[in-house]
């Protein structure tokens, strides 16, 4: 069986294994590894090859017969679906993380600035970057005293 969605192609190889091909234009290695991590209690995930254009991911179920501890046999198709959905979510999270990394550092630096625990000045401006990055030839709110 083959499935195809945005930048993802998957192929169920056997009842216990599948191959997924991911476009590197759509997905990052970070997202791939994070999605793989959440399968790691149920499957072994290999990433045998990657180049500038695509990643190849092999998924193999750890458990191939029901056991007393785990009476419900995992279905490979369900696992592939879960992986594909999960990597889309992780890619979105990755985007938020990159886009907000600086502002997050500023929030934390401001939050802890009174505690005296910072060993070095945080990167970026401690002042509100939104007002600052709003180019305008009009009067701007005066900056507070620089540290």
């Amino acid at each position: 069986m083959n499935l195809q969605s945005e930048g993802i192609k998957s192929e169920i190889s056997t009842a216990f294994s599948a191959t997924i091909s991911l476009s590197a234009n759509f997905y990052s290695k970070e997202s791939l590894l994070k999605a793989a991590y959440w399968l790691s209690n149920r499957a072994v995930v290999h990433v045998p090859e990657s180049d500038d254009e695509k990643f190849t991911v092999l998924i193999k179920l750890k458990q191939t017969t029901p056991t007393l501890d785990n009476p419900k046999q995992q279905n490979i198709e369900e696992l592939v679906d879960e992986f594909c959905n999960s990597i889309i979510d992780f890619e979105l999270r990755h985007k938020v993380e990159i886009e907000t990394a600086q502002v997050r550092q500023i929030i934390l630096a401001k939050a802890f600035s009174e505690s005296g625990v910072l060993e070095e000045e945080p990167p970026g401006s401690i002042l509100d970057p939104v007002e600052q990055s709003n180019p305008s030839n009009l009067i701007k709110i005066a900056n507070g005293p620089q540290k």
Binding site: Y37, N41, R93, V96, E97, L108, A111
Partner: protein, 499 residues
């Protein structure tokens, strides 16, 4: 110089490109997801909302867009990111870190008259010399405790059964009070006891010294006595009689009870809760059994699948809500801790569910022999021969030794869920915590493996369940929850539940 102002176009919503502020998201069900920002404010929305927010596909005139802006998930040119406000909220959520270690548990003896099969540490022996804390160790422990920067110290005296070593208590209490006084620190003292050996004289002493009592009540007689064997098999009868006596002498509100969940408890959530109501308690903690020590060894007797515990918790919570509806104020402690993080700007000082983890940072344990452990669970591991979290000994270690030593550094390397694999992207990160000692005990390393972690599974399911309840159309549930987080009686709740 004439003042100038932004032109009208500057405020045009249509032109505004918005910027994201840090947030996380998680699918809760087939059709709903949750978005949580950096300071714990949340939005419940249809699946796909986060994607639309991130891909800039939002309708700028929608209510959702305004809500996202108001709750600081994004900012556009007509609004300021108000980073100072976010920073203040962030600091408020992490206020529990101020002052460093506040809870100090002193094990005054290992001796106990009970032989509970899940207890890891107690010894049934009359050997006072070997298993009681010596006056020197007691004083050195207090000296170290008082070096904590916190202006407010809680001293918890436990065992074994601490009342079997009442002379140690009588030595440590005045010494600790004198030291706290001289340093201008406030001091709360709690004694954790099964009360079986409590004489009137002992209870009068606790009353006179302002010491609170925390005791154990596992449910009705058939559960309590099965969980807590002692000579005569009368633990329940003794406990009930002694709770009444302790309330009369020490003070009604100064006696609290905690329960331990075992396999037997799991089938009887309602009976256990009803027992707490029968005994006039207004608080109950549906605790899971800790996976340590003898509890780990006697798994067949006490062990159970986590899903069974979750079922127990959900049924219990439903019953507690029903009791509240009928007019009896009863709060479930774990739920209250989570709700405080979810519904209020504050964090909690609950050491088992915080990031950085409470171990060492918020709690320290001083064993009868002077050994210092990061948590009570670390002490239990040590009793099984695993000394990973032994941070020092009061007779030989300085405050600096304890907090700069290898065991503590090893512990804190895995103490922040913000940087743990699987947690770093989790929408529940701020509501949850890290538990490196649980990870070490159950999975063999302090970092742990989230996909197979009992800690992760339990907290994910409990928090998801609470969001189901929060978003239910039954507004009475939200009123009960608000009363819990405001620590007031439901009838005194002077606030309309959010629609």
């Amino acid at each position: 110089m004439p003042r100038q102002f932004y032109p009208v176009e500057h405020f045009s919503v249509a032109q505004a490109e918005y910027k994201l502020l840090p947030f996380k998201f998680l699918k809760l069900s087939a059709d709903r997801e949750i978005l949580v920002n950096e300071v714990g404010e949340f939005i419940l929305a249809p699946v796909g909302t986060a994607q639309r927010v991130i891909r800039r596909q939002l309708d700028r005139s929608s209510e959702l867009f305004s809500t996202l802006k108001a709750k600081q998930f994004l900012t556009d040119s007509s609004s300021s990111a108000l980073l100072d406000l976010l920073a203040t909220k962030y600091r408020t959520k992490h206020h529990f870190l101020e002052g460093f270690t506040k809870l100090h548990i002193v094990v005054v003896t290992l001796r106990c008259d009970h032989s509970c099969h899940y207890c890891q540490v107690s010894r049934q022996t009359a050997d006072k010399q070997t298993y009681d804390m010596s006056p020197e160790v007691a004083e050195k422990s207090v000296d170290l405790i008082m070096q904590s920067p916190s202006p407010h110290i809680t001293l918890e005296l436990q065992g074994g059964e601490p009342l079997l070593a009442f002379d140690v208590i009588q030595h440590i209490v005045p010494y600790a009070k004198k030291r706290a006084d001289s340093l201008g620190k406030e001091l709360d003292i709690v004694v954790t006891t099964n009360l079986a050996n409590a004489t009137d004289e002992m209870l009068c002493y606790l009353r006179d010294e302002g010491i609170k009592v925390s005791t154990s009540l596992d449910g009705p007689a058939f559960i309590h006595n099965a969980n807590r064997p002692r000579p005569g098999n009368n633990s329940y009868e003794l406990t009930i009689e002694n709770i009444q006596r302790a309330r009369t002498i020490v003070g009604y509100d100064r006696v609290a009870a905690l329960m331990t969940t075992t396999q037997l408890s799991l089938d009887h959530p309602k009976e256990i809760i009803d027992e707490y109501v029968k005994q006039g308690f207004h608080s109950i903690f549906l605790r899971p059994l800790s996976p340590y020590g003898f509890a780990l060894k006697t798994k067949r007797k006490t062990g159970y699948q986590l899903d069974n515990f979750l079922e127990f918790y959900r049924t219990g919570l439903a019953h507690i809500l029903e009791l509240n509806r009928k007019g009896y104020d009863l709060e479930e402690v774990y739920t209250k801790i989570l709700l405080t993080k979810i519904l209020t700007p504050y964090g909690t000082g609950f050491v088992d569910l915080q990031s950085p983890a409470g171990a060492g940072i918020s709690v320290l344990v001083y064993n009868y022999d002077g050994d210092i452990y990061a948590t009570d669970e670390s002490r239990m591991l040590a009793e099984m021969g695993d000394h990973t979290f032994r941070l020092g000994n009061v007779m030989t270690s300085s405050f600096k030794d304890v907090f700069t030593g290898e065991p503590f550094l090893n512990l804190v390397s895995a103490s922040c869920n913000q940087s743990l694999c699987g947690c770093s992207d989790c929408a529940f990160q701020l509501y949850c915590g890290a538990d490196p000692i649980f990870n070490h005990a159950t999975q063999g390393d302090v970092f742990g493996h989230r996909p197979s972690s009992g800690f992760c599974h339990r907290n994910m399911e409990v928090i998801k369940h609470l969001f189901e309840l929060i978003s239910t159309e039954d507004s009475q549930i939200m009123r009960i929850f608000l009363a819990w987080v405001q620590t007031c009686r439901l009838k005194d709740l002077n606030m309309r539940a959010p629609s």
